[in-house]
Symmetry: none
Subunit: 212 residues, 4 copies
DNA sequence: TATGAATGAGGTTTCATTCAT
DNA sequence: AATGAATGAAACCTCATTCAT
């Protein structure tokens, strides 16, 4: 029996069992040191100063624990980005904002970056997890913005919104991954300009003027 | 241009012992069925009809075996792409050719695609493996082509060749990954057009004409 | 005759705490779904909507809980059978009535049948439990009936009452067990006739007439 | 991967791995001391002087090990009984022989008796095991003998062969079980006479003579 | 070159049980 | 009377690895 599946931060969750939070913190702390696949029940329990059985009780297994941690993380940023898009009008400007936001996240949270870009996709059950659901909302929102841009004549109509969304996320991820892997810093401002120039402006020089 | 990085290893690979090849084939066959992380020595030995100790003798551990298999695969296609670029002149046309080639590989070899895009990057030692070395040559070749394009005025000078290389690979990979994961087919011809339009042409409609 | 062996236990069982009864009901409900050995404290507590510690408090362990449930069950039917034998005179008719009663019980309560015929006999402590005590009274009653039958000349004197009692119960149980295990229905009326014919009448055909 | 599933005593089984036999012997020895359900991997491995992994390799788990041991046991006696029936002509005499044989087995092998009559029927997978298959052959043979007896006029035609078979086995088992459980000796000769008198002869006294 | 046999070691999982509130 | 939180302990199971032949 696993307690509290997706408790959705119940309003008065009576301070949430101490052990539960200790376990979550222990995992976060361990993830900064080694890859998830190498983390054992014993590692987590020891770090949390808690019995292994408690992990089972609250999360069933470390995978679910990870999914829970990731969900909290991703959900938080998803909200932030949605708010951040308010008041921006042009589709390209919105996309630019998304690019900058994601680069900033990966820049300031390289550990989560490594897990999200690399490790979690291998885990059985990921594509049924809440984390992936939120990821899909992200993708869908992006695609919608592109489609609106096309509808409003800001983006040429012969572009596939789906492909463009993939290109954008691929660009972001592939620009961050090596930096994350090798511990190099990411400069979100510079990278945003660079990526958007490549994606949004004509590649050829000497046109009479850039597209914006 | 860049020379073939990894020397054809085994000088006497003609006399390759039967068991060694059987082990390699067994791994390939197993990879089509389940992810590498879930494959055990016993699995491989059983499938190969060989004793487990033999894997240990020849490869030390299954990771090295995988790296060997991947190296053979990647090296083969690396050669093919290098040959394929011969006679193409424009930088953009070369890049387009690379995009098409990679899409075609992922389309026809989804199993290897899954491993290269997803699984192998998690394995300890990957970034010291021959496979990654070849991967880096690939990236460097691409970057060189971009730089040549800039030098020859085909690509605007305010673009970072490094970033552009990452954007291209990110685009390719992110367009293929979902298809590979969920077993959907990839249409290399269509995708090449779509990706290159997004990357190489102005995003805005109504310009007097596309850049090429 | 034989007196009711087990006194109605709880003097104040009217004020039986709610949790206690919920636990009992939970076990009954679970037994319909899986074998006793596979039922855990957590299962019971969850089903009862009660804390695990409460089982411990009331019953010490699930075995005692099971014994309690079985005792209630067995005691109820024991009373019914005793009443049912009233007014029947011949020993063979009494035995026939017992056979029919037991077949009827197993037919209508296959879950308890499974537990009594199969599972409970494996449990440590069963042969010291009230349930087994009642079972022995049952056996003793049966043996007494047979002995009376012998004394009254209804049953031949060279038959061991003890063995005959065992044969009767063995016959009943072995006829029911496969049905219970494989979920087939039991026809008490037909089976009573069949079993009693085999046990009470001569096996050979063509005798001048059946024995009664 | 479990080695050697039902190896059917391969002709030149190269002396069968020492460890395998040690494991089998260890289980047999332990079964004399406690019930199967209480025997752990560690118990068996320790007693056998062998690593626990070896149990997994050869049998998968202790249940399969038990089924293997039981199968060998049951198969041996099944063969003996089949041979023993040779040359006996009358159906009732054949049945009497079966009764005596089974009683003798339970008498001389009370440990196996306890397991076969009590424990094994609870184990998941038993009804798919080889042991149960052999058990069914036994039952079928018995039923066939009864049917032949009916066809040849030795057994009255209004008797259900299926029920009679069940009555016979029930009688045997229920006469042995208490003795096995409480460690009392079984007298096969006396019990055979007693059971067959009850089953085959008229229950009422004063008939002109027993049925045979 | 290749195998069968065997092992050490540790991860994973499940439970019954306790205790403060 | 009842609960939530937590634990200790052990069973189960799997693997990589070794070694004599």
């Amino acid at each position: 029996m696993i307690a509290n599946p997706i408790p959705e931060n119940s309003p008065h969750s009576r301070s949430a069992p101490a052990g539960r939070q200790k376990i979550i913190d222990a995992l976060k702390s361990l993830l900064a040191e080694k890859e998830f696949a190498a983390i054992t029940w014993t590692d987590i329990a020891t770090r949390a100063g808690v019995n292994e059985g408690l992990i089972h009780k609250y999360f069933g297994n470390p995978r679910n624990l990870l999914f829970q941690v990731l969900k909290d993380f991703v959900q938080y940023y998803w909200e932030r980005i949605r708010l951040d898009l308010g008041g921006i009008d042009g589709a390209l400007d919105k996309l630019r904002k998304i690019v900058w936001n994601l680069l900033t996240i990966y820049s300031s949270e390289p550990v989560f970056g490594r897990i999200l870009l690399l490790e979690v996709r291998n885990l059985p059950g990921y594509f049924e997890s809440d984390t992936y659901t939120i990821h899909r909302y992200w993708a869908r929102l992006t695609k919608t913005i592109i489609e609106e841009g096309i509808a409003r004549g800001e983006i040429r109509a012969d572009v596939s919104a789906f492909d463009m969304m993939n290109v954008i996320y691929g660009a972001i991820e592939h620009c961050c991954l090596p930096a994350i892997l090798f511990g190099r810093p990411i400069d979100p401002d510079r990278l945003t300009v660079s990526i958007c120039r490549i994606l949004f402006e004509p590649i050829a020089p000497h046109t009479d003027g850039p597209s914006r």
